[in-house]
Symmetry: C2
């Protein structure tokens, strides 16, 4: 059913992504992937009384939509694995209250998207569940006030900063059915190269991405050209340049035609004023569950590796002079044989 090789799980009865759904805010709806999202809100409050309630609503909507598309009833879903960037992951936990599905909360900062998919796949791939809902979310305004400055300040940012995606992505992972399959998952180590600037997350996260990518190829005895596309989660322009350099140094360069970053894909970086690019749990979630799964469905990609990256700092750890520990989890998603 499952082989364990180093940091990697290989699924011999690969779990199927029988459905996925994405809900985003106005900025993401003006980006190049707009057509791939299920629901675009024009108002980032979603008519809720707070941004936090709006973020929870994003998660609930994506979850509802993913379940609806799967053809299942909510009662058929055995478990919900979710997380987000909020203190005490309230967006996911409050969404889990609404969903009333047995719930495992997870946290890996922006890597949570693939952490939750890896755990969901483990459950389905080993017979511990038939149907698992996997989802993550983030909101530009909740993250701004929690991690940086009061959102209303509209504080200026250096060009290395990233713009948190307002969006939620969810998928229903099943033991069988139609759709792309999860063939393996690599769980990352925490890597910290001593970067202390919270306005340069991409640089902090790049070494973690490189470490997990190298581990994945080592464990699976594979080279990058096994995949049609490898995407990192949210390194954006600064971090993506660094991960390319690190992979070259480690003797595992990824050809540029095979390599991209969700934080670079979601916005028109030149026009949208998003500094180095997108970030947040929602970034890799909506790019993967929206755009990339559709490319697999169309046959444009057969084999995809999503390497979601996360910066595990808190405002308090930064204030206490700690550097930024980072992590990346990779999930391989492939078109089903015969599809």
């Amino acid at each position: 059913m499952i082989s364990h090789k180093g940091q990697t799980w290989e699924f011999h009865n690969p779990p199927v992504l029988i459905s996925a759904a994405t809900v985003v805010g106005p900025d993401e709806g003006q980006g190049p992937l707009a057509n791939d999202f299920d629901l675009i809100h024009q108002d980032n409050t979603l008519k809720q009384k707070s941004w936090e309630k709006a973020e929870k609503a994003l998660m609930e909507d994506a979850a509802d939509l993913a379940i609806k598309k799967s053809g299942m009833q909510k009662d058929n879903i055995n478990f919900f694995v979710g997380g987000d960037l909020m203190n005490q992951i309230i967006s996911s936990s409050f969404a889990a209250r609404t969903l009333s599905i047995p719930y495992l909360g997870v946290f890996g900062a922006c890597s949570t998207s693939m952490e939750s998919l890896a755990i969901s796949s483990l459950m389905v791939g080993t017979g511990a569940a038939k149907y698992v809902l996997s989802g993550t979310c983030s909101h530009n305004c909740t993250v701004e006030k929690q991690f940086r400055y009061p959102t209303e300040y509209g504080s200026q940012k250096p060009p290395t900063a990233q713009y948190t995606v307002t969006g939620a992505g969810a998928s229903v992972v099943a033991a069988k059915g139609e759709g792309p399959v999860v063939t393996s998952a690599t769980i990352g180590k925490v890597i910290d190269m001593g970067i202390t600037d919270p306005f340069n997350m991409g640089a902090a996260m790049a070494p973690a991405a490189a470490d997990t990518i190298v581990a994945h190829f080592r464990d699976m005895k594979r080279s990058p050209d096994y995949y049609d596309l490898i995407v990192t989660g949210d390194l954006a322009s600064v971090g993506f340049k660094i991960v390319n350099e690190l992979l070259k140094e480690q003797g595992m360069p990824i050809p540029s035609r095979l390599f991209n970053d969700c934080g670079l894909m979601i916005y028109d970086i030149e026009k949208q004023g998003v500094q180095a690019g997108g970030s947040g749990c929602g970034c890799s979630a909506v790019v993967t569950y929206g755009h990339l799964l559709k490319r697999i469905e169309k046959g444009e990609i057969r084999r995809l590796l999503v390497v979601a990256t996360g910066a595990l700092l808190s405002p308090l750890s930064y204030q206490q002079g700690e550097s930024i520990p980072c992590i990346a989890h990779a999930v391989a998603i492939e078109r089903q044989e015969g599809a």
Copy 2:
């Protein structure tokens, strides 16, 4: 290898707790379970520059000690599953940086102790890992300043409030070896009965505990007397009374000789001025990994059910008028047959 029944996993090749370790602070060292802890710090700063760094050190020490007792080297441990109450679970993530073991961060507030053990057992029980380190921690002073008032205020508390345990518990879960085994795990739903008072967590969490207990017995077709002892995580005196009433109402009363609460066990409640009793991720972790596993080793208990309870609120959700969603995860730990 594993059966999935409702919300419950039954492990047919039960994962073994080959070692466990607990590290606590001065208050816990003056309580009735003091002799069961591996390391008692007399100074709750652990000579660190901040309480947060002290909490991280608790987690690191418990992890190191658990690995040492297991007879393994750190490199043999495939994964670390951990979490805590801090924003962005920094205690566990920074400990994971020090450990340099592939890491899955989890969050279920004080239920994290059994969430992490359930996921670790899933991994080991399905062949996804040979050795997994599972651990959680909490610190009285970090929680006070994060969730309530600046610690230095020494603010007065109502008698329904609970006293957060300073402590960390960790275990090494293995596919085989000597020690108690994890035979099943029940993943809880989020339950919210509308309680909004963060100084009465026990009352908020009791319905979640009852829900998971009833689910466990329903899924496993078992009655409470299957177990020699059932403990809830940290309901303390107010919540424990309520869970008893709820279970009676639901036709599944647990005889008092079989039923206790880690929050009632860890302190001498009359003498230690801890209001209704203990709480925190560290509470059920150190009582289980310290005291209860030793009772299993001694043969005083053969079958134990630990129902760790968590309140999934944040200070912000409370300020925004939300009630307190709660969850409980149950793990059954039994003496190995023939032992």
